[in-house]
Amino acid sequence: MNNAITLAAIIIVVNSLLCLYRTIKGPTVQDRLLGINIVGTKALTVLVLASFIFQSNFYLDVAIVYALLNFIVVVVISRYLETSGKRQ
């Protein structure tokens, strides 16, 4: 069972590396923000899997903080992009 969880974590890491292509190449800022959002979600999932691979609890607390940070980053940056052009 431990090998299966490790394999799933490796597949998710490879997927997040593929998603970085959209972050680098994306034509608009919103595309880059979307890529960062997906990479953050996948890193959270890998942290949850790592807490069961290494049998330690504190990775789950790190995953909770990572979810909060991901949410706040996306909402604040998109709000900034929405209002930044209007005040000129």
């Binding site: 069972m1 597949i11 998710i12 997927n15 919103q30 979307l34 949850v48 949410f71 998109s78």
Partner: protein, 111 residues
């Protein structure tokens, strides 16, 4: 009973990896920011949700399951909000929608 739990965990991990792969392919291949929002939110809810459910079944009734449910609930709330915020900022900053370029087929080549 142990075998049933193992099969359920493996099946949910497989479903989660499939939806992560589908979300990645959608984000890489779709033409537009409004179209790319759709696989990204699927990736958040279905992929991460089924992986978290698999880990919740695998952990049993220990202290980890409360943390897993907190993460899952927060992910379900925040993914919809993030998608809405990104789409709203794309609309407000005036990004044009993708339109398919229709090829002009010449039906009468001799004229």
């Amino acid at each position: 009973m142990n075998l049933i739990i193992d099969i359920a965990v493996l099946l949910l991990l497989l479903i989660g990896c499939f939806f992560f792969l589908a979300g990645t392919i959608g984000v890489l291949r779709l033409p537009d920011i409004y179209a790319r929002l759709h696989p990204s939110t699927k990736c958040d809810t279905l992929g991460a949700g089924s992986v978290l459910l698999a880990m919740a079944i695998y952990s049993g009734w220990s202290g980890d399951i409360y943390r897993l449910f907190i993460i899952g609930f927060f992910l379900f709330v925040s993914s919809a909000t993030c998608g809405h915020a990104i789409g709203r900022s794309a609309v407000k900053s005036g990004i044009a929608c993708f339109k398919k370029e229709t090829e002009t087929v010449n039906l009468h080549p001799e004229k």
